[in-house]
C-alpha cells in the first residue's frame, strides 16, 4: 500500500486545493432539498464547473471525454473535494458513477460519443431503472418486459426506488428480453429517454419526508434497439462489469465525509459539554478509528482493483458469461457492510450529543440520521452483502 503522494500527485492535490479554495465561495447557495428542479440545476452547475476546470471524468478513458488518470488521482480528487466541503455529486450520481462507466466499458463508439460528453459537461441527468416492486434485493427476478418490434423494443412494466427520476433525462433500464431464459440470461440493458411517450413518474416520499425516489410506470414505451448497450440478453453481465470497480469509489467520498462529520460532532460535543462524558468521548474516539480504517480500506480496494484490472478483464473475456451472479464486487461488500453500519452509529452518537435537539427536524444531523437509515438497505441490503461475502469470498456452500 502506498500512502504518500508521488510528486505528480502532490502537485495535483495542491492545484486542486487552490482551485477549490477559489471556487467554492463563488457557488450559489445550496437549494432546498424539496426543490428538485433547483437541485438539478445546482448539481449540473457544479459538474459544469468541474468540467471547465478539467476535473471531470479524471479516471475515465480519454476517448470517453475523460482525463485518463489513474485511481490514485481520482482518490485525491474525492478526498480533497469532500474535505473542502464541495457539493456532493447528487443528481449526477448515476451518470458519473454507474451508467457512464457502463457505457464507457461496454458501449459502441457511437454510444460513447452520444451519452458520455453530456454527463461530464453537466448537461444530462441519468437515473437507474433496476429495482422493481417484486425485484429489490432479488434483482434478477425483474419482470419489466421488452418485446422487439422492428427497430425498437416495446417496454411495459414498472420500476421503483428510482432516485432522481423526476429530473432525469435518461434512465439506465434493465428489461427482460427473453422470458424463457434462465433468470440472469434474459436481461438487456437499455438507455431510455425519460420524455418518451408512455413513461410516467410518480414521486415517493421517504421516511425523511423528502422525495428522493420515485415509481416509474412504463406503458408500451418504444426504445430504439440502438439504445441497447451490449448484446441482447447480456444485460446482467453488462451491469456487473463496472459495478465491482465503481463500488469501491462510489463510496469513497462518503468515507471521507464520515471523517469530516465526526470532527463536526466532536466540535459540537466540546461546545455543549458532552465532551466531559468519558463514555461518549471514547465512543467518538473509537469511531474515528473506524472511519480512518475504512478510508484506508477504500485506498486498498482501489489499488488492488487497479492492479488486478487487466487480470479481471481477461478472466471475464475468457469466461464468456462473466461472473456467476450477484451484484457488487466482494471487496466492496466488505467495505459497504461496515461503512453503512458505522455511519449509522455516527448519527446515533450525534443524537446523544444533541440531546433533545436531535428531535428537531431542522438539524443537519437529524436529517442525516433519517436519511442514513437507507444505508443498510440501498445498493444491496446488509443481509445480501453478508451472503455475498460468505459465499463468494469465503466460499461457504449455498443454501438455507
Amino acid at each position: 500500500m502506498r500512502l504518500a503522494d508521488t510528486p505528480r500527485q502532490a502537485d495535483f492535490r495542491a492545484e486542486l486545493r487552490a482551485w477549490l479554495a477559489k471556487t467554492l465561495p463563488e457557488l450559489p447557495p445550496a437549494p432546498d432539498p424539496a426543490d428538485w428542479p433547483g437541485r438539478r440545476a445546482y448539481d449540473l452547475g457544479w459538474q459544469r464547473r468541474l468540467f471547465e476546470a478539467g476535473y471531470a471524468g479524471l479516471n475515465w478513458p480519454r476517448d470517453s471525454g475523460g482525463r485518463g488518470l489513474g485511481p490514485a488521482e481520482h482518490l485525491v480528487f474525492l478526498e480533497e473535494t469532500e474535505l473542502a466541503g464541495a457539493p456532493y455529486v447528487g443528481a449526477c450520481f448515476v451518470g458519473l458513477l454507474h451508467a457512464g462507466p457502463t457505457v464507457a466499458a461496454e458501449g459502441t463508439a457511437g454510444q460513447r460519443a452520444r451519452w458520455l460528453p453530456p454527463i461530464l459537461r453537466g448537461e444530462e441527468v441519468w437515473c437507474q431503472g433496476f429495482s422493481e416492486p417484486d425485484a429489490g434485493s432479488d434483482l434478477a427476478s425483474l419482470r419489466t418486459r421488452a418485446v422487439r418490434d422492428g427497430d425498437a423494443y416495446v417496454v411495459s412494466g414498472s420500476k421503483i426506488w428510482t432516485s432522481h427520476a423526476e429530473v432525469a433525462d435518461w434512465c439506465e433500464l434493465l428489461v427482460r428480453t427473453d422470458p424463457e431464459a434462465p433468470r440472469h440470461r434474459g436481461i438487456s440493458w437499455l438507455a431510455m429517454p425519460m420524455d418518451a411517450p408512455g413513461v410516467t413518474v410518480r414521486p415517493l416520499a421517504t421516511l425523511a419526508g423528502t422525495t428522493e425516489f420515485a415509481e416509474l410506470f412504463l406503458d408500451e414505451v418504444r426504445i430504439p434497439v440502438g439504445n441497447r448497450v451490449g448484446a441482447e440478453n447480456d444485460g446482467w453481465r453488462v451491469t456487473n462489469v463496472t459495478l465491482s470497480f465503481e463500488r469501491g469509489t462510489a463510496f469513497a467520498s462518503e468515507a471521507v465525509a464520515c471523517r469530516r462529520e465526526l470532527r463536526q460532532l466532536a466540535a459540537l460535543a466540546r461546545e455543549n459539554g458532552c465532551w466531559e462524558d468519558d463514555a461518549l468521548r471514547r465512543r467518538i474516539g473509537a469511531l474515528a478509528a473506524e472511519f480512518g480504517a475504512l478510508w484506508r480500506l477504500v485506498q486498498w480496494n482501489v489499488s488492488q482493483a487497479a492492479a488486478g484490472e487487466e487480470g479481471a478483464r481477461s478472466a471475464s473475456a475468457k469466461g464468456g458469461g462473466g461472473r456467476r451472479e450477484g451484484v457488487p464486487g466482494p471487496g466492496g461488500s466488505v467495505f459497504k457492510l461496515r461503512f453503512s453500519e458505522a455511519r449509522q452509529e455516527l448519527y446515533e452518537l450525534a443524537a446523544d450529543v444533541l440531546g433533545d435537539d436531535s428531535l428537531l427536524l431542522g438539524h443537519p444531523f437529524t436529517a442525516a440520521r433519517l436519511q442514513g437509515l437507507s444505508y443498510t438497505i440501498a445498493a444491496g441490503t446488509s443481509q445480501i452483502q453478508r451472503n455475498i461475502v460468505a459465499q463468494r469470498i469465503l466460499g461457504l456452500p449455498k443454501g438455507g
Binding site: G285, A289, A293, L394, L396, P397
Partner: protein
C-alpha cells in the same frame, strides 16, 4: 504490498504451518528483520508487522514484541511502565518470561543462536526438540521497560527484580506483579529509535506490533471458522450452508479486513494516532473473531482440546498490553480538534 513483502509473508506462513514455534521464526530471520545486513535482513517496521501478524496467525508463544523492539538483544520482553494515575496501582503486571530451564526441571539446555543476538540464547528443548513457550516455560533473558515519556531502559538481569508470579488466563503467557518503583530507573538506558529515523518511537512500535499479532489472530479465526463450517455437518448438510452461520462468518471477515487496512496503513505511516486506531480495531477483531470462531465450533469450541480458546485467551491478554481500548479511544478522541 510489494512482491517481496508478499513472498516474505507467504514464506513464513508456510514455515509456521508446519512448525509454529520460535525456531521457525528464527530460521526465516524474524529476530533480525530490522538489523542491517549482513547481521539481519535490513528490513523495516512494515515487514516486522507483516511477520508478527503471521506469528499471531500461528499463535507462536514467547516475547516476540520485545524482541522486535530490541534487535541485537535476543529474546526480550517489553513491559509498559504504567503512567501515574490517581489511585493507580503501585505495581506493574509484567508478562514474565522465566529464565530458560527454570520451569522444566532436568532439562538440558541446547544452545540456540538467535540471529542478531550478541550471545547465544539458551533455551529449553520440548519433546520434539523445539523450543517450547507453552506451560509457562518462557524465554526472555532481558526486559525492556518502556516509560511513559518515550524513554526505555534495558534490564539484563530480570531475576534481580522482586516479583510475584500470578496465574494468567493465557496458559502460555505468564504474568508477574512487580512494584513499579523497582522497574523505574532499573537497568540501563536503551536508545529509543525515534530521533534518527523520525519513526513512531519504541512505545508506539510496541503498540503497533501487538496490533499486528492481534490481526494474525483475527485472520486465523476467519480461516478456522470457515474451514470448520465447511466440513461440520448438522441436519444433513454443512453448517456453513445455514445463513445464520454464513452471516456470523461474514462479520468475522469484515472485522479482520478493517483491522488489516488499519494495521498495514499504520505500519507504513508510523503515525501514532493511526497506530492507536489500529490497536483498537485489531484488539476488537481478535477478541470478537476468536469468540465468533469458538461459537462456530460449538461444543468443540468449549473443549480444551479443541484449542480455539487459546486464541481467545491470547487475544484477551494482548488487548491489555501496551494500549488498552480506553487509552486508544482517548488518544483518537484527542486528535479530533
Amino acid at each position: 504490498m510489494t512482491e517481496e513483502q508478499r513472498a516474505l509473508r507467504d514464506g513464513l506462513r508456510e514455515v509456521l504451518a508446519a512448525r509454529p514455534d520460535w525456531r521457525a521464526l528464527e530460521e526465516i530471520g524474524y529476530f533480525g528483520v530490522r538489523l542491517p545486513d549482513p547481521e539481519g535482513l535490513g528490513l523495516g517496521l512494515p515487514e516486522a508487522v507483516l511477520l508478527t501478524a503471521e506469528a499471531g496467525r500461528a499463535l507462536v508463544d514467547g516475547p516476540l514484541i520485545g524482541s522486535q523492539l530490541a534487535p541485537g538483544e535476543g529474546p526480550v520482553t517489553a513491559v509498559r511502565l504504567p503512567e501515574a494515575r490517581v489511585g493507580g496501582r503501585a505495581e506493574a503486571l509484567v508478562p514474565w518470561l522465566a529464565k530458560p530451564g527454570a520451569t522444566e526441571p532436568g532439562a538440558t539446555a541446547p544452545v540456540t543462536a538467535v540471529p542478531g543476538a550478541r550471545e547465544p540464547v539458551t533455551a529449553v528443548p520440548g519433546a520434539d526438540g523445539s523450543v517450547p513457550g507453552a506451560g509457562g516455560a518462557q524465554l526472555a533473558r532481558a526486559v525492556l521497560v518502556l516509560g511513559p515519556g518515550g524513554g526505555a531502559r534495558l534490564l539484563r538481569d530480570p531475576d534481580a527484580l522482586p516479583r510475584v508470579p500470578r496465574p494468567s488466563v493465557d496458559p502460555a503467557a505468564g504474568l508477574s506483579a512487580v512494584p513499579v518503583e523497582a522497574l523505574r530507573g532499573a537497568g540501563e538506558p536503551y536508545p529509543a529509535r525515534t530521533a534518527e529515523g523520525g519513526g513512531p518511537g519504541l512505545f508506539a512500535e510496541a503498540v503497533l506490533l501487538t496490533a499486528a499479532y492481534q490481526l494474525g489472530i483475527a485472520e486465523w479465526a476467519v480461516a478456522s471458522a470457515v474451514e470448520y463450517a465447511r466440513v461440520r455437518e448438522q441436519f444433513g448438510r454443512p453448517i456453513g450452508a445455514f445463513q445464520a452461520v454464513q452471516h456470523l462468518c461474514a462479520d468475522l471477515l469484515v472485522r479482520a479486513e478493517t483491522a488489516r487496512a488499519a494495521v498495514y496503513a499504520a505500519a507504513v505511516s508510523g503515525d501514532p494516532v493511526e497506530i492507536a486506531g489500529a490497536k483498537l480495531l485489531a484488539d476488537r477483531a481478535a477478541v470478537d473473531n476468536a469468540r465468533g470462531c469458538l461459537q462456530v465450533h460449538g461444543g468443540m469450541g468449549f473443549t480444551w482440546e479443541g484449542g480455539v480458546h487459546r486464541y481467545l485467551k491470547r487475544a484477551w491478554w494482548l488487548r491489555r498490553r501496551f494500549a488498552d481500548p480506553v487509552g486508544c479511544a482517548e488518544r483518537l478522541a484527542a486528535s479530533l480538534t
